[in-house]
Each structure stands twice: as C-alpha cells, then as structure tokens.
C-alpha cells in the first residue's frame, strides 16, 4: 500500500485512498489526453478519491466520477493525502 506524502502513480492507490494530482505529472500524458482530463475535472492540484482500483481505475473528483484505463492511471502521479477508511 502507498504511503502518505510520496508521489506515486495513481494506479498504485487502493479503493478509498485520497490523493492530490501533481500538475507536472499530467505532462507525461499526450496533450489531447491532458486537455480532456483537465476539462473533465482532473486539473492541476485537484483532489481525487479512488473508487475502484485496477482496470478501469475509477476516481471521484468533487461529484464527478471518471473511469480511466490502467495505462493512463499509471502515468498520472499523485501525492497521497490519507489512508483508506476502515
């Protein structure tokens, strides 16, 4: 399980964990993916909660739920905020 405060790929989080998307991390994605993700709500420093780990990786940003394939989730670096709730 990922530790708090360390930058890790989004794909390594488990269900219930919360994290902040690192702005520079999105640069690893192709430009069209990056723009679409940002417009969908996954912008710089946004907070995500993992609803489902694996493929698809389902994350919640505010009230929006996004489904991402594993290869995209692997290229998004996040900083863990807290451990999953019991």
């Amino acid at each position: 399980m990922a530790s708090k405060g360390i930058q890790i790929p989004l794909s390594q989080l488990v269900r219930g964990q919360r994290a902040t998307v690192e702005c520079s991390a999105l640069d690893a994605l192709p430009a069209d993916h990056r723009c679409l993700l940002a417009a969908m709500g996954m912008g710089e420093k946004c907070e995500v909660r993992v609803c489902r780990a694996g493929t698809p990786c389902i994350v919640q940003i505010d009230r929006t739920r996004l489904g991402l394939p594993r290869d995209v989730a692997e290229r998004i670096l996040v900083t863990l905020l807290e451990s999953p709730r019991p």
Partner: protein
C-alpha cells in the same frame, strides 16, 4: 421569424431530458450542412406563443478541445455551420456538479451570444442540502440563471420566459462580469468556479460518504472483468426475453387490426386483381413488417431506461477490455451500440473517434451490429425455430446479437492487425450518477423510433410490397391440367361426398396458387437464381425474399408474406400473419421454413451487408467507394459461407 437556440452543456447534465421536455415529439434528426454529424432540432412553443427552434448539440467538456464534437459546437456558435449564429444559447449545468460545470459555462458565455443558464437537477441537489441562489447566480454570471428539474418540469416555464426575452431582445451577457479567460480545467478557471460556487450555493451539501460507498460497490461489480461481462450478458438476455414476453400482446392486437382492415376491404371490393392488390399486397404486405412495431418500440424504451439509469457507461468499461483485445478503442462502444438501432447514426457517430484507423475499423464493422431492421427478421425466424417457446426464442434472439457483435470484433481484430495496423487510444469516460430512469424520456425516444419505423413502412416497404405483389401476381398462367382434373373430380363427388369434394377444390386452389406463383415474374427470377441459394436451403420464394432484402432487410418478412401467397392457412381459413407465414409451402408441398433453413437464414441475416443507404454513407464517410465495396463483398461472402455451414450441419 423563428428564433434559434443552441442547447449546450457538459455530458450527463440532462440536456436530452430537457430537450425532450421542451420539444417532445416535435423534433427531427438532421445533419449540419457540410457535415454528417447528426443532431436533433425541435420546435418549442412558449406560453406566450413564441416559437423557438432548439438545436440539441452534443455534450462537451470544452469548446476548444481538439475533438470532433467540440469543433462542431464551436462551429455552430460561431455560425460556420447551419444558418448563421444562433439567436441565443441555453447552457445546461448539473446542479450536483456545479464547480466543473461553471467553468464550461464561463467559456460558453465568452462567445458573447445572448444566453440563459439552466441549472438542472436542482431538485436532486436540494435533497442533498444544496440550494441554488438564483439571484446571486444571475448577478455573478451576468445572464439569467434558473434552477430547474427537466425530469419533473419544475422551473421550465420560467426558463422559457427568460429564454424568449433574452433571444428576442438579443441581450448579451453583462459586460462588467469578469469571466476567466482560460479554458475549463486550468487553475484560474477552477479558482473562479470555486469562488462563484461559494456565492451561489446557499447551503453547502452534506457528506455523500454512504451514497458513494454504494456507488463504489455497484461500479466495482458492473466494471469487473468477469462479473461485469456476466452482468452485461444477463442484462441483455433479460431485455430481449422481456421484449418477447411483453410484445406478444400488442403484436396480436396489431395483427388483429390489420386482419380486420383486410376483411373490411375484401368485403367492400369485388373479387379480382384490385382486391388482391389491396388485401394481400398493401394491407398484408405492410402488416408483415408493422406487426413487429411493438418489439422495436419496447427495445428502444428499455435501452433508453438502461442508458438513463447510468448503467451503460459502466457497461462500456466492462466491454472495453474485450474491445481493446480486438483492436478497437473504448470510444467505439457508443457508435457500435448506436448501430444496434441503425448503422447510419452509428457510422456517423464514429466521427467522435479521434484516431483515423480506429474510426475506419469501427465504420467497417458497425453493420455487423444487429440493427432494428433485422429485428422483424430475427423475430420471424426465431419464432419459426422455437414456436410456442418464448424463452428459447429470446435466447436465440440474444445469440443473434452476440454473433453479430463477435463477427464485428473478429473482423476488427483482423483489420487492426493487417491493413489498419497501429496503436489503440485509451478510453477515458465520465460515469454518471446512478438514478431512477425517466419513463417520460424513454417513452419519447421509443415513440420517436416507432414513428420512424412506421414512416419507413409507409413509404419504402409499401412501395416494395406493391412491386412484389405485381411481380408475384403477373403474368397469369393458364390452368394446369392437374388443377382441371382435380376440379372435375370434385364436381363428380359433389352429390355423393360433399366433404371430399370441398377438399379436392381446396387442393385445386392451392395447386393453382402455386402454379401462378411459379409462373410469375418473381417465380421466374427465383427459379433462375435458386441454384445460387439452394446450398443454404432456400427455394425460389425465399431466394426472391433474400434478394429483395438487399434493398432493406425488414422487407424480407413482407416479401415472404406476399410471395408465399399467405392469407389462408392449411384449412383454407383466414389466418394471422405469423401463422400464415408458418404454414407457407414450397412448390413440392414441403414447409417453406424448415428448422435448418430458418437457422441458416438467421445466420445469413446476422452477417450479411444488406443495406444500400449504409453503403452510401460508408462511401461518404471514408471518401472512397473502395471501403464499402470491400465491406459488401466480405460480409456477404462471410454470411453465405456461415449459412451454408449451418444448413449442412443441421441436415
């Protein structure tokens, strides 16, 4: 002059529900000039009698993304397509997801068009404790903001009043309002949206922890690699089985109505060619297709309910893994699903697939998906195979859909590994909230599809029914010596054994009908080409039915009805449409539909490319006749080979 209003918004904001609420059945599907991307235009009449033409644009996340749907919306707002710039925009936001939706609203307002903002699903937000302050929102955004519920109609009349005023007076957004200049998703835009949200949301929503956990579990199940696929297969099987169960009652009603109309006309017209044309050609021919209207309406009604419930987006992910193995992107799911209604909008929807190779592969396999034109044929043939066993017929129906999908995926895999080699783009999709689907919206969609089907039945199918009646009724053949002999024997027996005489007369009539059919233009054509289709068990009548179905698949049932001279059953009494087709005979007296023939035909119809308009659209979309030609030859050859195999295996 009618005012034109563009309906804009993020996906899943209830735009289509609002469109259906405003326009109901007064909408039509159209294409923008110079583009094949379809959109709905509906006429809406306000309380003050003002007419508004509402243009339902696709849901987008930003007007500046390099995506086809974003370009289309931007072009529409800038007047580069359609009839110049719209008179106003109606921007629909989701009350439950305001911070992100506000960012989109700001980018749309910057276009400077007279605008009104509808904050939809305000009733659901209110239940979560979020109350929209309309006055503060109007002040913050510089345009009228109305909280509505498109589903219940709450606030819609007020929205229309504001929309009419804004469009009529050409009120542009207040120039003093400072909107972010960056696009949705940027830090500046997100900060502005958060501040605006804080001003317009009267009470912040309470925690959604419990609700989200339930959503998490449902998502985990529906998108699970194995469970998700099983759920999808179960859902589709239930859907098709329920179509069979529920549709049989209205189908009997439709059949009864056409039978009654035919009997009235037969009573009113003297026996002869005109009576035959109207009763068997027009009424019987159209009935053979229209009888399946209840199944089509039910299919779209149930699919609309599934989509509105939020399930289909999860199903897209469940099937995405499978699709990617076959070289198709997740974005191909919706075009392929749309192709189950009709390949034409499905192929047009492939414009939303960014990669050209992905798009071409999707276009080429889209006609494998079982469209609504195949439904009457599937329904007829599965009922021939499993008469009186609706569950088995429902499963066979599902198997047809699966076979079509598998053939499409298999073909895609071959294409993506050969002539269309290249990487597949990943699917990133928003998953809408689960909710109780709107019966009203589903009904509107189903009735709309039903009207389209009836319109087709009233034009193309009616014309083909008349032509087929003429081809199968002329030229008239002289009475055969066997018929004359039967009639003479009947006359001899009349005084001693009346029942036997009647039977002989009936046999004479049936024999003459078969001779007339055989000697007709259609019979001659069928006999000439029969050797081509005989390996899959078809006689001359079914050969002609299959040939005419290359114009439009659903014509098959009509042609079979007209060609088989149906209308009387074995006992010589008037029979229902399906019963009449079921009792139809070949020239040698054998049943027209044997189980091997029905199964072979079913497989043929699942796989064959039998739609002229689809070929034309594929040529238009790919910019070349090479692709539709390849598609036609490949699909027809595959269908023929598979049908031949099935027939041989079953005999």
């Amino acid at each position: 002059m009618t005012l034109r209003v563009a309906l804009l918004g993020n996906p899943n904001t209830g735009k289509s529900t609002l469109f259906n609420r405003l326009c109901g059945l007064r909408s039509k599907t159209a294409n923008f000039p110079g583009s094949t991307v379809s959109h709905n235009v509906g006429r809406c009449v306000t309380r003050s009698g003002e007419a508004l033409d509402i243009i339902d644009l696709p849901g987008i996340y930003s007007l500046r993304l390099e995506l086809p749907e974003s370009r289309l919306c931007a072009d529409c707002l800038d007047g580069r397509i359609a009839d110049g710039r719209p008179d106003a925009t109606l921007i629909v936001l989701d009350a439950n997801n305001l911070p992100r939706n506000l960012q989109f609203a700001a980018s749309a307002l910057r276009r400077g068009l007279p605008s009104v903002i509808a904050i939809n699903m305000a009733d659901l937000a209110q239940r979560r404790g979020l109350i929209i302050d309309e006055v503060a929102a109007t002040e913050s955004l510089g345009v009228p903001v109305i909280a509505i519920s498109a589903r219940t109609g709450q606030g819609v009349d007020r929205l229309l009043d504001h929309l009419t005023k804004t469009a009529t007076r050409a009120q542009i957004p207040h120039p003093a309002i400072a909107l972010p200049t960056s696009e949705p998703g940027s830090t500046a835009s997100a900060v502005w949206a958060a501040e605006t949200f804080a001003r317009i949301a009267a009470h912040p929503p309470p925690s959604d922890a419990v609700e989200m956990t339930i959503h998490d579990r449902l998502d985990a199940a529906f998108t699970h690699p194995l469970l998700g696929i099983l759920c999808f297969a179960l859902m589709m099987s239930l859907l098709f089985a329920s179509i069979y169960w529920l549709a049989q009652f209205p189908m009997e009603g439709v059949d009864g109505i056409f039978g009654w109309v035919g009997a009235i006309i037969a009573h009113g017209l003297p026996p002869g060619p005109l009576q035959d044309l109207v009763v068997h050609g027009v009424v019987g021919g159209v009935a053979a297709t229209v009888i399946f209207l209840p199944q089509i309406v039910l299919l779209f009604f149930l699919l609309a309910l599934l989509e509105d419930s939020g399930y289909l987006a999860r199903a897209a992910f469940a099937v995405d893994r499978t699709m990617r193995r076959f070289g198709l992107p997740g974005q191909a799911f919706m075009p392929l699903l749309s192709s189950h209604a009709c390949a034409l909008p499905g192929i047009m929807a492939t414009r939303l697939i960014p990669d050209p190779r992905d798009r071409l592969a999707t276009i080429l396999v889209a006609p494998f998906m079982s469209c609504s034109a195949r439904v009457p044929v599937y329904a007829l043939l599965t009922s021939m195979l499993f008469a009186g066993r609706p569950l088995a017929a429902g499963l066979a129906f599902t198997a047809c859909y699966l076979l079509g999908a598998l053939a499409g995926l298999g073909t895609a895999a071959v294409l993506r590994r050969t002539i269309l080699k290249g990487p597949t783009l990943p699917m990133m999709l928003e998953l809408p909230d689960y909710r109780l689907p709107s019966i009203r919206t589903a009904l509107t969609i189903a009735v709309d599809r039903g009207f389209l089907f009836l319109k087709n039945a009233g034009s193309v199918i009616l014309s083909i029914a008349i032509v087929m009646w003429w081809l199968s009724a002329y030229p008239k053949s002289p009475l055969a010596p066997e018929v004359v002999a039967l009639e003479l024997r009947a006359a001899d027996l009349e005084s001693t054994d009346f029942a036997a005489a009647q039977q002989l007369r009936h046999d004479a009539i049936r024999l003459d009908e078969r001779n007339q059919q055989s000697g007709s233009f259609a019979g001659q054509l069928g006999r000439t080409l029969e050797p081509l289709f005989a390996p899959m068990g078809l006689d001359r009548q079914l050969t002609v039915a299959v040939l005419t179905s290359f114009l439009a698949r659903e014509v098959f049932t009509t042609t079979v009805f007209v060609m088989a001279g149906a209308g009387t059953d074995a006992e010589g009494t008037e029979a229902g449409t399906l019963a009449a087709i079921r009792s139809a005979k070949r020239d040698d007296g054998q049943p027209l539909f044997t189980p091997p023939t029905s199964a072979a035909l079913l497989v043929f119809f699942v796989l064959a490319m039998q739609c002229l308009p689809t070929l034309v659209v594929v040529a238009k979309e790919t910019g070349s006749w090479r692709w539709p030609l390849l598609q036609f030859v490949y699909m027809t050859a595959l269908a023929y080979g598979a049908a031949f195999l099935v027939y041989r295996l079953m005999t």
